[in-house]
């Protein structure tokens, strides 16, 4: 909204400001000082105070709309008085209609479902640059915005429009103060100069610059180092598409392009018309009072209204009537000609009329196709109009969509006048404004129609949300002796049993086969009893496909059940990329890679565990070995959960003692870690606590008396129950360390866990060096939860500290009773070898996702320290016999 000469003049002046006299500086300082005090006092006002003042100044502005319009035209010699009255009325009445019910003080918006509240904070002192083209309406509008948001404004009117601007400020100020606004809330530069602007833009007490002006003013604002709202020049392309309502479109264009003699920067600049309607469109222009130039006239116009040196519009034409421009350049037109329509052949410097023209001259271009039309509009858009405004007249939604996609404009006005359409609230539901944000294309920070919310700091009060949690386990769990009989109830045409040769040899496979319906085709797939390799999984999937399985029965330890889970995944969703599915994640619900939900065969997975430790029959985890790349791939997703779990102790009655001890301690570690996990919930706690109780009571019995059916049953249940806890609460740093050094020294997983266990309890029970962020927990609870576990076990102790010590001691006694080595050193690993391994082990453990739910965030040095404690073994609190767990 700035004439080209002043754009350049301002740009030059602002880049090298002249020296201001002492008197002038004192004057500027007094304006800032008044505004600063007013802004401070204004912070005490409430919404009712503000709304009362807003209404009063709106009425004052409306009352003086004609007076101000007349002053503006007299002073600037630009535009049309009658149109400026409309502008002043829109700037007050329409602005009021938009802001009147908006909350701008205190809490302005609430989002109860998100526990979020937005609170308004005024900006303070705003320095507002006002353009020559809208010198009073812009002031009226900004005064309303400022009062509504409790800010003080210093207005910097255009040097050639300062008297009318000053008068507008005065009218609004007097009305505001009369109704209670702080003194000094609006001030206005008298006889403004460019150096005044430069001084104020850099003043430390000016909080925001709102520069409604040309590129120079906007650039100066953004270069000042202050936060700035800057808007700037446009070059509005208009596409008149062949499906448009021609009559209405031409009238709209005439309304817009002649409004205030074309001084609104959103007005139409180059009209691109489809070939099919081009002649008819020009004929309509002629019929409605426009003059369509011939080639000679267009050349004359180009030479006269566009500066050949700069390529910008000549100031003499800005805001003048079409007939006056024609007369001035010696063009013969009808006396009341509204608009000069000039056909052009392209866009760019060699086509001078393709630039912004803030006067009633409209360039027109004949396009042979929609494709060409869009390209020419894009050319216009990039010739000085980026981010500003574009207009399209069409009934073709596809064309409108494409136009909106390719043209970079903050406002894309459809089937209505560009200038008035962009102002908002008249022809559409855009927010009313007198400042058009032009986005990065125009060097601005926003594409919005600048309004009240741009005059506020919006503070967001974010209350803690109750994190959603979950408890997901298989639909059906059958347990206790002979639970395998429940297989009978599952109909199947084709069942594949996945197991190991050893379990076949032990007769377990036959037991399972016995309870599958006689009508079912049963196939047995034997796989090695080790963590499954990719090749094993893929051959298993081939078998499932070959047998067209509708039921998979996994009979075995964790490895067999894990293999079956992955086979089912690939069987149901062949496209599943195991590599991608193993991508790391922090929160299950926000993970990047989602598991496929395909059910190509709708097969049922029934897991029957033959060890009492991993609990794989109810967990959503599966570990895969990739021998080619020498690494393990851990998959985790609830879609991996078996559909049915059978926890039948008959399959564990013959477990060797060592395996009983190792898997039993694995189960205990699951429960202890889930119990203090940051993901723990009352649901997982109930499982974890019960599993701990069962392990302390029955594991020693199962170890010492392997044929004890009750002990075996309860330990089998405990493993499943602990697994339900850690499936939902996860594990912790114990597992991370055990994974690292168990793999390095080829140690059974349960045994590796056991070596860490007492040390990790002590570690988690101490005050963390670093707390672990968790939305699921309030405060640090690990020590208290260990104390609760000690209470559950009847270990005694008065204080939390005592109880934790007793839990550690009871754990150590349990390990002793299970004849588990109590130090890594006891395994025959030399100190030197261990010392060499520790740094790498700590790194591997730190990369392990297991500790992410640990209550205490482990530092690398702490992981090393824990490893050394496990190497050295004992040394923890070992109170006398009173700490013995009640195991009978």
């Amino acid at each position: 909204m700035e004439t080209s000469d002043l754009v350049d003049q301002r740009a030059r002046a602002l880049s090298a400001p002249e020296t201001l006299s002492e008197e002038r500086i004192a004057y500027l300082e007094s304006l800032v000082s008044q505004a600063k005090v007013a802004a401070a006092v204004f912070t005490q006002f409430n919404q009712e105070d503000v709304d009362r003042i807003v209404k009063a100044i709106v009425l004052a502005g409306l009352e003086q709309a004609q007076h101000l319009a007349r002053l503006a035209v007299e002073e600037t010699k630009l535009g049309v008085m009658e149109d400026k009255v409309i502008k002043n009325m829109v700037a007050t009445e329409f602005a009021y209609d938009y802001v009147k019910d908006k909350r701008t003080v205190g809490i302005i918006r609430e989002y109860p479902e998100r526990n979020l509240v937005e609170v308004a904070e005024p900006i303070g002192v705003i320095f507002s640059v006002v353009p020559i083209t809208n010198p009073t309406s812009t002031v009226l509008f900004k005064c309303i915005m400022a009062i509504k948001t409790r800010n003080a404004v210093i207005f910097g009117p255009h040097p050639k429009a300062w008297r009318c601007g000053f008068e507008a400020v005065k009218i609004m100020y007097e009305a505001a103060v009369k109704h209670g606004a702080p003194e000094g809330v609006f001030t206005c530069l008298e006889s403004p100069t460019i150096p005044d602007n430069a001084y104020l833009m850099k003043h430390r007490d000016v909080s925001l610059i709102d520069a409604t002006g040309g590129r120079g003013a906007v650039k100066a604002a953004y270069s000042s180092g202050k936060p700035a709202l800057g808007v700037g020049p446009g070059n509005t392309p208009v596409y008149l598409e062949k499906t448009a309502d021609l009559n209405a479109s031409i009238v709209d264009i005439l309304i817009s392009k002649t409004f205030d003699n074309g001084t609104i920067c959103a007005s139409e600049q180059t009209l691109v018309i489809d070939d099919e309607i081009y002649d008819a469109a020009l004929k309509k222009f002629s019929g409605l009072g426009a003059h369509v130039c011939n080639e000679r006239e267009t050349k004359l116009l180009e030479r006269s209204v566009i500066d050949p040196q700069t390529g910008c519009m000549q100031p003499m034409a800005v805001g003048q009537k079409a007939s006056d421009i024609a007369s001035f350049i010696g063009l013969s037109v009808e006396p009341n000609t509204k608009l000069l329509v000039a056909p052009i052949q392209g866009v760019g410097r060699e086509h001078p009329l393709s630039v912004e023209k803030l006067f009633p001259v409209l360039a027109v271009y004949r396009a042979k196709s929609a494709e060409e039309a869009l390209k020419v509009c894009l050319d216009v858009n990039h010739a000085g109009g980026l981010g500003h405004t574009a207009v399209i007249f069409s009934r073709n939604d596809e064309i409108i969509r494409k136009f909106a996609e390719v043209i970079n404009a903050g406002r894309i006005i459809v089937n209505s006048p560009g200038a008035i359409g962009a102002l908002g609230a008249v022809y559409n539901d855009l927010v009313p404004t007198f400042s058009f944000g032009c986005g990065t294309g125009g060097g601005n920070s926003t594409t919005d129609n600048v309004n009240v919310y741009h005059y506020l700091n919006i503070k967001r009060v974010a209350r803690r949300t109750q994190a959603h949690m979950w408890f997901r386990v298989p639909n059906q769990i059958y347990f206790n002796m002979n639970a395998v009989e429940n297989l009978r109830q599952f109909p199947s045409q084709s069942t594949v049993i996945i197991s190991t040769p050893l379990l076949e040899h032990m007769g377990h496979v036959d037991i399972v086969r016995r309870y599958i319906s006689p009508q079912t085709h049963v196939h047995v797939l034997f796989i090695p009893d080790a963590e499954p390799e990719i090749s094993v999984v893929l051959s298993g999937v081939e078998a499932l496909n070959a047998y067209n399985a509708d039921q998979i029965v996994a009979l075995g330890g964790g490895s067999v059940i894990d293999a079956a889970k992955i086979m089912k995944l690939k069987y149901e969703s062949p496209q599943a990329d195991l590599e991608e599915l193993a991508a790391p994640f922090l929160d299950l619900r926000k993970r990047v890679v989602q598991y496929p939900t395909g059910k190509n065969h709708g097969a049922r997975l029934i897991a029957i565990s033959t060890t009492s430790g991993t609990g794989s029959e109810v967990t959503p985890f599966a570990v895969l070995t990739d021998k080619k790349q020498g690494r393990k791939v851990t998959l985790a997703d609830y879609s991996l959960n078996p559909d049915v779990a059978i926890v039948d102790p008959q399959f564990v009655m013959s477990m060797p003692k060592k395996l009983t001890a190792d898997t039993g301690i694995d189960c205990l570690t699951h429960a202890l870690e889930a119990g203090v996990s940051n993901y723990a919930s009352p649901y997982t706690d109930s499982n974890a606590m019960q599993a701990i109780r069962l392990v302390f009571k029955y594991l020693p019995v199962a170890f010492e008396d392997p044929r004890n059916e009750e002990a075996r049953t309860m330990m089998h249940n405990a493993a499943c129950i602990a697994a339900m806890a850690f499936s939902n609460a996860s594990v912790g740093v114990n597992h991370a360390l055990a994974h690292a050094f168990g793999a390095r020294f080829n140690l059974a997983h349960g045994r590796a866990n056991a070596l860490m266990l007492p040390h990790v309890i002590a570690y988690n029970a101490a005050v963390p060096a670093k707390f672990m962020p968790s939305p699921y927990q309030r405060g640090y609870l690990a020590h208290k939860k260990y104390a609760t576990m000690a209470d559950l076990l009847g270990l005694g102790g008065q204080t939390v500290e005592e109880k934790v010590k007793r839990l550690i001691a009871a754990t150590e006694q349990l390990l002793d009773r299970l004849e588990i080595p109590r130090s890594i050193a006891e395994l025959g690993i030399s100190r030197e070898e261990f010392e060499r391994a520790v740094p790498e082990l700590a790194k591997i453990a730190f990369d392990d996702p297991s500790w992410r739910s640990n209550p205490r965030m482990p530092l690398m040095s702490e992981l090393e320290e824990l490893l050394w404690k496990a190497y050295e073994g004992r040394g923890l609190a070992k109170p006398a016999g009173e700490a013995r767990a009640q195991t009978t």
């Binding site: 600063k36 005090v37 007013a38 802004a39 401070a40 006092v41 912070t43 005490q44 303070g124 702080p182 003194e183 000094g184």
Partner: protein
């Protein structure tokens, strides 16, 4: 801690006059002045000018002025116009010790 020798209660009505009086009293005072703002809900430019005048005299005489019971809205205004650092603020409840942290809140002083 020196005794407070001038204690003034401000009422919202007539506060400017009262502050001017306070400034006069401060001119003849030897050590400290405490101005009670507990009844003041809101201040305007005139009050701010009077407060600034008070601060000027206190600065000249190197005397301490304590503002007591200033509500948070008024305190924010004083912060925004950068007057807060020139005063010591004390709460209106309790009889705790005052600290000399200028421009920030302290406990109530010993009277």
């Amino acid at each position: 801690m020196a005794m407070i020798n001038v204690w003034l209660n401000m009422e919202e009505k007539g506060i400017v006059h009262a502050l001017r009086e306070a400034a006069e009293k401060l001119a003849g005072a030897e050590d400290e002045l405490i101005v009670d703002f507990a009844a003041v809900r809101r201040i305007d430019q005139n009050v701010l000018r009077a407060i600034e005048g008070l601060a000027g005299i206190a600065d000249q005489k190197s005397l301490k002025v304590m503002l007591r019971g200033v509500n948070v809205d008024v305190y924010k205004v004083l912060k925004l116009v950068k007057l807060a650092p020139r005063f010591t603020f004390v709460n209106s409840d309790g009889d705790g010790r005052a600290t000399n942290r200028e421009g920030s809140h302290a406990e109530s002083p010993t009277r």
